[in-house]
């Protein structure tokens, strides 16, 4: 497989080496009018015509309750709508078009057959409240998915209800809270490593906990001594990502889990980096009590420009009674919803979860099977290490060593030459490559977090290295082209201060 796009972009740039020329070429496609600024007629003819007597039914509603001023929606033809949103779509980078090594986000290829399956009317046109006997297929999928995830993670039971990773975290900490309350323990603190995702402390705070930060050591792992000094009977939970956000496996995990359990705390697994572990090892075996999975990362649910994802939560036996309700059960070859769950934390959203996302992951697991799942992580790890080794000649890798599915390099050498990680990220866009995650984790200066994923080819990775080499030359010879990048995107760097100081958050007609 080849991805000629990135290389074509290089050729493009070489041929248009006058920057001004490139700009003017893009000027024409830079501005798409707002849908509100387009004008034509629309009669919503995809709806049946009114028969004329409909307004009489309005009489059943008192005047006070009726809308007086029409909503100022745009009036455009179907063709205008098609051109408008097609035009907008073309202003996006996406996995279908671009290499997207965005660390921590697992931007892998999402098989197209999964979209087709989720769109079948037998899965998309079904109602959450139809009789269980008329939805056995959907219930079977939910039930088996609970089982698949339990097997893959080494947990005892799963809920599929949470809508996203952060929603899964909320679910997990509410379960931890309910568990401790049921045992009569007063727990006030949640421990979180300094390399953690921002959602971890935000979730802990949302659940009313005090957040205590645990330091990383010189190897980039949780500092076990610092952790031990902060462990006491007030600790409800330790939240960890493994491999951590530096892409490193937390090798002391068994001892860490034991120490937290010793003060009657729980260990929570943030599954953002599960793409490294499929078939290799399981958080349940490491001692984690609660895990969340990101189906949109590891299990091929497309990211959809920012959702919907799905964040199922798995627990060990002692926490099953606290799972959100209802879980799906199997009795005598029939699938049904659990009817009573007196200790359940309740519900995190309406109905049962993002079924349309879950079904994609279910089909993905079936397609890959056990060998395929392990191949995912093997290839993700090989790809990441290959890139790390090739790039460390150019970039500092502050916590160097064998990584898992991603690694963090630092643009510190480049910074000395006046070019920062952000500038390199923006310049990559000119070459048709989405930027890595920059300035995260917070513990690495000028961080660039690279996650190539298993679906990319060696050829694409080699092209990526070539592009970074070219940028390196630009930094030496013509830093302005990097500092002012991107040049080929629909717009250049934006005034974020203006956006925040004078918020313009909606179209207004007047």
């Amino acid at each position: 497989m080849s991805t000629p796009l990135a290389l074509n972009r290089i050729t493009d740039l070489l041929m248009n080496d006058s920057k001004a020329k490139v700009l003017s070429k893009n000027e024409t496609r830079s501005r798409t009018p707002l849908i509100f600024e387009r004008h034509s007629r629309n009669h919503a003819e995809w709806l049946p015509a009114l028969e004329g007597h409909e307004e009489t039914y309005l009489k059943s509603i008192p005047q006070d309750f009726l809308r007086k001023k029409e909503a100022n929606l745009p009036s455009v033809s179907e063709l205008e709508v098609v051109r408008h949103f097609t035009g907008l779509s073309q202003k996006n980078f996406s996995v279908d078009v671009n290499f997207y090594p965005l660390g921590s986000c697992t931007m892998k290829y999402n098989p197209k057959c999964l979209d087709a399956i989720a769109s079948l009317s037998s899965f998309s046109l079904i109602h959450p409240y139809q009789e269980e006997s008329l939805a056995q297929g959907a219930l079977k999928i939910l039930f088996e998915m609970q089982e698949y995830l339990s097997e893959i993670t080494g947990m005892d039971e799963f809920t599929l209800q949470p809508a996203a990773g952060a929603h899964g975290e909320l679910c997990g900490l509410l379960i931890a809270g309910a568990y401790h309350r049921a045992r009569g323990s007063k727990k006030t603190k949640v421990l979180i490593p300094d390399s953690a995702h921002g959602t971890n402390p935000a979730t802990a705070a949302l659940c009313g906990y005090e957040v205590v930060t645990v330091k990383s050591n010189a190897k980039g792992l949780v500092d076990f001594d610092d952790l031990k000094s902060k462990l006491d009977s007030g600790v409800a939970c330790l939240m960890m990502t493994n491999p951590n956000t530096l892409g490193l496996f937390e090798e002391d995990i068994l001892e860490i889990a034991k120490a937290v359990h010793a003060v009657d705390g729980l260990v929570y697994y943030d599954g953002a980096n599960m793409n490294a572990l499929l078939g290799i090892c399981r958080p349940g075996d490491m001692g984690f009590d609660i895990v969340h999975m990101n189906l949109h990362k590891t299990f091929a649910v497309p990211h959809g420009s920012g959702g919907p994802g799905s964040g199922p939560v798995g627990v060990k036996k002692h926490l099953i009674p606290f799972l959100p309700s209802p879980r799906v059960l199997k009795q005598k070859e029939k699938f049904l919803f659990e009817k009573q769950a007196p200790q359940s934390i309740g519900k995190l959203r309406s109905f049962y979860g993002n079924f349309g996302a879950i079904i994609r992951s279910y089909a993905y697991i079936k397609a890959l099977g056990k060998e395929g799942l392990r191949a995912v992580s093997e290839n993700a790890i090989i790809n990441a290490n290959y890139l790390r080794v090739r790039l460390k000649k150019m970039y500092d890798v502050p916590y160097d060593g064998i990584c898992m599915h991603e690694f963090v390099m630092a643009a510190t050498r480049q910074k000395k030459k006046g070019v920062r990680a952000l500038d390199i990220a923006k310049r990559l866009l000119d070459y048709g490559v989405h930027a890595p995650t920059v300035y995260f984790p917070l513990i690495v200066e000028e961080a660039m977090m690279v996650e190539p994923t298993e679906t990319e080819s060696k050829e694409t990775l080699d092209e990526f290295v070539q592009i970074l080499e070219k940028i390196e030359k630009e930094i030496e010879q013509d830093p302005a082209i990097v500092l002012e990048a991107p040049h080929t995107t629909p717009v250049g760097r934006m005034d974020e201060v203006l956006a925040a100081r004078q918020p313009n958050l909606r179209f207004k007609n007047s």
């Binding site: 509100f36 909503a71 939805a135 996203a164 949302l206 989405h434």
Partner: protein
């Protein structure tokens, strides 16, 4: 089926470049004791085998093409024009990430800005975010906003709000020092206004209301809002977006926060998700809103452009001091909402609402003429209503199935005292022949 691009030879070359002799060397830091297992999962399948198996599993579900659905209660069988999925399912939308790199995401950012604008127009509220997970979690986040904003500890929740939504509000606040005060239902199916008045005090952070309520009935929103405001509490309305084609929007009857389930706007029911929740506020609460917000700005040469803005509220900047832990929105579902509203236009919105109103009232009138069917309330309704059916539940279920009807929803699942009461939803998709089958099914039971 595997979706791996590298050949075995590629892998060999890469392992050599890394300087290890086998893959196992790359995971040597994972304790051996953890690596000694094998997944107990089936073997993989080809796409051909997978599709045929999934089609088979799908046969175990009855869908809206098989049966006519009278089920509602938060998810509705509305018509989705072909254009919605044709556009939203483009790879450039479906396989891109949250628009952190603004220059590489102008399509998503402008569409979010347009979504926010469309939702503001629909609700007559000042500002909208980029969307929430669904209506229920949006309502819970609205309650949290009110608690933060007022520093008070009490949330007033009528039982006429969707029971699952009430549970979600309870769950979200279960670890906090918050009191939830339930307001019972009056005899005519709306909240008991006298008890509401007595229940609001100087410690009330917010009064929540669903309008139309769970039973499809219009609540006396203006008066409820006035009561909330008298005590300095926030007034939070949870609304059905299609109803706003004819019903007064929450921005005009005094809501401080208005939220709702976006599924009716171009999203399939899909067994309950994914959909999106919309979340709107009056100006005063803008900087307390949860979730992503897109704003218009200019780039360095003055071109109009769009960015994620007011991010100082969010978890990736503020960590434990964020206004919410929410990270993603439900962007693709919200995009479907934006495309759908653009296709509707202002005339289409009213037309759609009128078609729903007409269909629901025609079915209501016809049902009431049947023997054994009794009125539940005389309050006005939009496209959902409750009726008492004096029928044996088992016979009724069998008769509905025999006539290929999904629903109505038996209320006793949520309200044990309401045995024999059923909630019907009637959308523009229901035809006169569907109605005929429904009437026959109920008469025959």
């Amino acid at each position: 089926m595997q979706y791996i691009s590298n050949t075995d030879n590629d892998k060999k070359v890469m392992l050599e470049a890394i300087g290890v002799s086998s893959f196992e060397d790359l995971v040597a830091k994972v304790p051996k004791s953890l690596r000694n297992f094998e997944l107990r999962l089936p073997k993989g399948k080809s796409e051909l085998e997978l599709l045929s198996e999934m089609v088979e599993i799908g046969r175990e579900n009855i869908n809206f093409h098989d049966y006519a659905s009278y089920l509602g209660a938060g998810n509705y069988d509305h018509f989705v024009p072909t254009v919605v999925n044709a556009l939203a399912h483009r790879g450039e939308f479906i396989t891109s990430y949250t628009p952190y790199q603004g220059e590489a995401s102008q399509g998503t950012l402008q569409s979010i800005y347009e979504f926010q604008s469309l939702i503001c127009e629909l609700t007559a509220m000042d500002y909208s975010n980029a969307s929430m997970y669904d209506g229920a979690s949006g309502l819970a986040e609205a309650a949290l906003l009110a608690l933060r904003s007022t520093g008070r500890k009490k949330i007033v929740v009528p039982v006429t709000i969707h029971p699952e939504y009430r549970t979600v509000v309870k769950t979200y606040t279960s670890c906090l020092d918050v009191e939830i005060v339930e307001i019972p239902m009056a005899a005519d199916g709306v909240l008991d206004f006298e008890i509401l008045k007595k229940s609001i005090d100087e410690n009330t952070a917010a009064v929540l209301v669903q309008h139309p309520n769970f039973f499809g009935l219009l609540e006396d929103v203006r008066a409820i809002g006035e009561e909330a405001h008298k005590a300095g509490a926030l007034f939070i309305a949870c609304v059905n977006p299609i109803s706003l084609g004819i019903l007064e929007p929450p921005g005009e009857y005094g809501a401080d926060i208005a939220v709702g389930e976006g599924q009716p706007l171009g999203n399939p029911t899909a067994f309950g998700g994914p959909h999106f929740g919309f979340f709107t506020v009056k100006e005063d609460f803008l900087r307390k809103m949860p979730g992503r917000i897109a704003g218009m700005t200019v780039d360095k040469v003055g071109r109009r452009s769009f960015v994620l803005t007011l991010q100082a509220r969010e978890q990736h900047i503020r960590r434990e001091k964020a206004t919410s832990n929410i990270c993603t929105n439900h962007s693709l579902c919200a995009l479907k909402g934006a495309i759908y509203l653009s296709l509707l236009g202002k005339e289409g919105l009213k037309k759609l609402a009128l078609l729903n109103l007409k269909n629901a009232h025609q079915t209501y009138d016809a049902l009431l003429k049947l023997k054994g069917v009794r009125e539940f309330s005389r309050r006005p309704f939009f496209n959902e209503f409750v009726l008492h059916l004096e029928k044996d539940a088992g016979n009724l279920k069998a008769s509905l199935e025999a006539n290929k009807i999904l629903g109505p929803l038996a209320l006793n699942a949520f309200y044990p005292k309401q045995a024999g009461a059923y909630l019907f939803a009637v959308t523009e998709n229901r035809t006169p022949s569907d109605q005929q089958r429904l009437l026959e099914a109920i008469s025959a039971s």
